[in-house]
């Protein structure tokens, strides 16, 4: 690890100011990706801006129509939340499948969404539920937020403060874990709303994406059999030492079916 300055601001505007005034500085949320890259000397930002003192970024609230989760809320809190388990059990299940207990205790929803790792779980939940990304300056719909491999709509100095989720009629997540890392080799989030179904896939390609043919089929019949014959194209899917693209494509269908199963059971 190379030396860096460490800031722990008390207010969002201070954090944003530090971030814009110190070139190449990085936000530190749970640090589950950032700290390992620092330790391996793969990144050497001149300063870290730690969000841990911003207490109001933690917590889960319910306004009747939506659930809002503060950006600094750890995965373990979401997984164990009675509120989330009651209103969006698929999202609590997703949080319970991230990493291992240590990662779930340190890692945060805001950090995961901002990092947009192509194999992270939360982007599938956020996109699958059509959530709103609330930032220090605006609100961004999930459909416009994720821009592929580690890219998002966030502007320099813009800080995610919360994720706001609409409540689905049903939702479920199924994840095929990469054997070594336990990231999603393929993860599929399925959510049914009054006006239709959303299907979001993580792990399979360079970023989270939706599967319109599955959404249409499931909107007609919210049952695994409705999508059993739908194959997604291998174009743009990842091939690596763990899984070839056609296997990933196959797993998208299998995991989508299992996500529907999880949603209805």
């Amino acid at each position: 690890m190379k030396p860096f300055a460490y800031h722990q601001p008390d207010r969002i505007p201070d954090a944003a100011k530090l971030l814009t005034s110190i070139e190449d500085s990085k936000l530190l949320a749970g640090g589950m990706t950032l700290i390992p890259t620092l330790k391996q000397r793969l990144a050497s930002p001149p300063a870290l801006v730690d969000l841990s003192r911003l207490g109001h970024l933690k917590g889960i609230t319910d306004d009747g129509a939506t659930i809002t989760i503060g950006a600094m809320t750890p995965h373990a809190v979401v997984a164990a939340s009675k509120l989330v388990k009651a209103k969006i059990p698929g999202l609590a299940a997703l949080a319970s499948m991230i990493g291992d207990p240590a990662v779930r205790i340190r890692g945060t929803i805001g950090g995961s969404v901002a990092n947009n790792d192509p194999a992270a779980d939360y982007p599938a939940g956020v996109l699958g539920l059509g959530a709103t990304v609330v930032t220090s300056t605006r609100e961004i719909a999930a459909d416009g937020f994720f821009r592929g491999l580690f890219e998002t709509a966030l502007e320099p100095g813009e800080i995610i403060t919360a994720l706001r989720f609409p409540m689905p009629l049903k939702a479920g997540y199924a994840k095929f874990k990469a054997p070594a890392s336990r990231y999603a080799l393929v993860g599929v989030f399925v959510a049914k709303f009054a006006d239709g179904v959303r299907v979001a896939v993580t792990g399979a390609g360079s970023g989270v994406f939706r599967v319109p043919p599955m959404e249409e089929a499931l909107s007609r019949s919210f049952d695994p059999s409705a999508i059993a014959a739908i194959r997604i194209d291998t174009d743009g899917l990842t091939s690596d030492i763990h899984a070839e693209a056609d296997y990933r494509a196959h797993l998208v269908t299998v995991m989508a079916k299992r996500a529907v199963d999880a949603a209805v059971s």
Binding site: M1, K2, P3, Q40, R41, F176, P179, A180, S181, P224, S225, A228, I241, H242, A243, E244, Y247, H250, L251, V254, K257
Partner: protein, 795 residues
């Protein structure tokens, strides 16, 4: 204080007191006054000419004390890293043995090859300076696979090693095998890959070196399984340090699995550097560094053929293997795929003719050497797989074909056609025991239940034998060993009767401090708590060859047993004098020396006291003191074996293999501590399951980059991969070790890969699948199912 706890008991492990309370003492825990930090600069290329190294920026970096390269080592006339075995080809021509410089000279031959060593005041300063070193490489194409390396036109690692072949080794009667194949009613054939593995001990390698100018002595603390061998190899052959001026200490070591039983260049570099900078230096490898520098294991490509008569009796076995050595010869490298492989191809069967050819091949990969099992898992996998293939092709039940060919218990000692003679064993007994323990008779019910859930269930057998207790020196010498393979133990009885044992093996997780104390407690009748075991320090322990090849109890324990016998013999002489009786009338039992047929006796403590306070003592015939030493060189290998049965369930939708049941019935000879033996079996089996289902070291052909270079990409087996295992022993006693022990450290790793893969193939056999390469990953199984045109299960 305390009681005798002897052979057959399962006391809690003595060493766990410190390990479980965070009071272990590992190399990286040690701090020396004035200690500096060292970092190695390693090649980022698989194959390149090392044109030049510009040290200037690194030397100018804050805190830097020295930057050393291969040129500096050459200028100091330091030796090449030695190989401990010299094998020969069929014509008696010695293997090609190119130099292995401790820092690369002229060329780099694998990603991770060391090109420089940076010493600075702090680890951060050393790392920062290392990044400033300018190395001018002329990158060459890399070759990483054995098939590719022997092809015409392949990149050549060494100018004088044509086709990258280090040695074209063979064993067995080729003509007899060919004759038998001509008469065969059936020939089973199998091509397979034995996947490359990375050991991943929990503690990464580390070292501290210090030079004391006042005494002209060096001390090296290192994460080693054999400190005395490091002292010899490094002191005598690399650095030219006299043995009496070099102390090597291997304190608590957090797992080895073979990875730490070699003399590494890092040890030599840091020791050499410590004198150059006149300061102690510490180096601790990162996990990533371990991936590209710890010696790897396995990596074979094999073609095997088994000839059978019409009844399924094995007539002959022919095996052709290409074995990957990596970029250089490591300490035991060429011995593993040859001497520890070919002689095991007889297995537990009466196959009369066997021929084995192994081409030992250099590639642009980390050097390959012994990894838990070392050669024997590879042999067992080839044999136990082809037995299943033959059974399937001939329509003979897999258990039945094994029974028809098994060596009966009465036939021991049994001479195989491939050098080794098994002294004892009962493979049929292990098989029968395992069939019952695994509830094989109800497997059909379980398979039907799986089928109802859309899953495929399979059962796999591995009836195997291995050779361990390395090794009879005379035998090893004939095979090319350049050293002896005996062990030594000293039993020091203190004036108050407590005992300190100095032994040349090294405990890094095996429980020696407990097992060896039980032997002493039993044999001398002293309390278990009154025995301490000292190891891992060349200044404290007389000599030793270390721990590997399941040898510690078999060879070291035998030396310890002999030394305790000498203590008893001397005690009898002292007792005879004190009790005014003839020495032949003195009996020793349960810690008491007594005159036969009388109630006159002296306790062990009284005899110890008399030995050190010799007021009334036969000084004319006996020296004072009670301390005895023994060296033991085994007369043969030992041959543990057994039967492992794996049961798997496969999800055809995803290709995921789940191990649902595992049964092992093993013959490990006398069991000293059943709890520790069970633990060794558990760990060994998990490592074998890791090879079968999860682990795979993958290199990129052409660039030589290690693609599975971290725990994110290299899948180690985890607790939730394993079912509860059924472990039992069915022991016959070794006829030539003092206590009848055979060793148990590697049996789990040797028996299990074949059992698991045989189960996977069984589960898929209805689809025409005849073989699955390791690791049987979900992607690989799914691909096989696609090729088998499996109709996708409808929901």
């Amino acid at each position: 204080m305390g009681n005798v706890i002897g052979i057959g008991a399962s006391p809690k492990r003595k060493e766990d007191q410190r390990f479980l309370t965070g009071r272990g003492n590992y190399v990286s825990d040690i701090k020396r006054p004035g200690m500096t930090a060292g970092v190695f600069v390693r090649s980022p290329h698989g194959h390149a000419i090392l044109r030049s190294i510009d040290k200037s920026a690194a030397l100018a970096s804050p805190g830097v004390i020295a930057v050393l390269t291969g040129e500096d080592a050459a200028a100091d006339k330091l030796g090449s890293l030695p190989c401990g075995w010299g094998i020969t080809d069929a014509k008696g021509v010695p293997m090609k043995e190119p130099p292995f410089p401790m820092l690369a000279q002229g060329k780099v031959r694998f990603v991770g090859d060391m090109v420089a060593f940076v010493v600075a005041e702090t680890p951060a300063q050393a790392s920062a300076a290392a990044e400033l070193l300018t190395v001018d490489y002329e990158v060459l194409p890399s070759v990483v696979g054995v098939l590719e390396a022997v092809r015409p036109g392949a990149p050549q690692l060494f100018d004088d090693v044509p086709n990258n072949i280090c040695c074209d080794w063979e064993l067995g009667d080729k003509a007899a095998v060919e004759t038998a194949f001509r008469k065969a009613a059936h020939v089973a054939k199998l091509s397979l890959v034995n996947n490359r593995l990375i050991g991943n001990p929990m503690e990464p390698r580390a070292a501290i070196a210090e030079y004391e100018p006042g005494t002209d002595r060096f001390t090296l603390w290192t994460t080693s399984q054999f400190p005395h061998v490091v002292r010899f190899l490094m002191g005598a052959l690399v650095l030219n340090i006299p043995q009496h001026k070099l102390r090597v200490v291997a304190p608590d070591v957090g797992g080895g699995f073979g990875v730490k039983q070699f003399h590494y260049g890092e040890e030599a570099v840091i020791t050499w550097a410590a004198k150059r900078v006149m300061r102690p230096i510490k180096w601790v490898a990162s996990r990533s560094e371990g991936y590209v520098s710890d010696r790897h294991g396995r990596d074979h490509v094999t073609e095997a053929e088994l000839a059978l008569d019409e009844t399924g009796k094995f007539l002959a076995f022919r095996v052709n293997t290409l074995a990957n050595m990596g970029g250089y010869l490591s300490t035991f490298g060429p011995n593993i795929p040859t001497n520890l492989y070919g002689p095991l191809l007889g297995g537990v069967y009466t196959t009369p003719a066997i021929y084995c050819n192994v081409k030992v091949v250099f590639t642009n990969t980390v050097p390959v050497d012994a990894y838990r099992g070392a050669g024997r898992p590879e042999a067992t996998f080839v044999l136990e797989r082809i037995v299943d293939v033959a059974a399937s092709e001939m329509g003979i039940d897999r258990v039945e074909i094994r029974r028809r060919n098994m060596i009966p218990k009465e036939a021991y000692p049994y001479q195989t056609p491939v050098l080794v003679q098994y002294d004892s064993g009962d493979p049929m007994g292990c098989l029968d025991g395992a069939l019952v323990a695994a509830d094989v008779k109800n497997f059909g019910i379980r398979k039907a239940e799986s089928a109802r859930r859309g899953k495929f269930r399979g059962l796999g057998y591995s009836t195997y034998v291995e050779a361990c207790g390395l090794a009879p020196s005379r035998f090893a010498g004939r095979l090319g060993a350049r050293g002896g393979l005996y062990e030594s133990a000293t039993v020091r009885v203190h004036p108050t009767g407590q005992v300190t044992v100095m032994i040349g093996t090294h405990n890094h997780g095996q429980g020696h401090e407990t097992t060896f104390a039980q032997i002493v407690s039993e044999k001398l009748g002293v309390a278990f708590d009154n025995v301490d075991i000292v190891f891992g320090d060349t200044d404290r322990v007389q000599f030793g060859m270390g721990t590997y090849g399941s040898r510690s109890l078999v060879v070291g324990g035998a030396a310890l047993s002999k030394a305790t016998d000498k203590v008893v013999a001397k005690g009898k002489k002292i007792a005879a004098h004190l009790l005014e009786a003839a020495e032949v009338d003195i009996q020793f039992e349960a810690g008491k020396f007594s005159v036969a047929g009388t109630d006159r006796m002296k306790t062990f403590e009284e005899i110890a006291g008399a030995a050190y306070v010799p007021h009334d003592y036969p000084l004319e015939v006996l020296e004072p003191g009670l301390e005895e030493q023994a060296y033991y060189d085994p007369v043969n290998f030992t041959y543990p074996g057994g039967c492992h049965i794996a049961e798997v369930e496969i999800d055809p939708e995803t290709g995921t293999v789940t191990l649902v049941n595992y049964t092992a019935v093993d013959d490990v000879g006398t069991v000293i501590n059943p709890m520790i033996v069970e633990g060794q079996l558990h760990g060994g089996i998990v490592q074998g399951v890791g090879q079968a289902l999860y682990e795979n070291a993958v290199y990129d052909e052409g660039s030589g980059q290690l693609l599975s270079g971290s725990l994110m990409d290299y899948c180690m087996p985890r607790a939730d991969h394993m079912p509860m295992m059924k472990i039992a022993t069915h022991s016959t006693l070794c006829t030539h070790t003092p206590m009848g022990v055979k060793g148990c450290g590697e049996v789990g790793t040797i028996g299990s890969p074949a059992a698991v893969i045989n189960a996977v193939v069984d589960a898929l056999s209805h689809l025409g699948v005849t073989h699955v390469d390791m690791p049987a990953t979900p992607n690989r199984i799914w691909r096989l199912l696609q090729n088998a045109s499996l109709p996708v299960a409808a929901e």
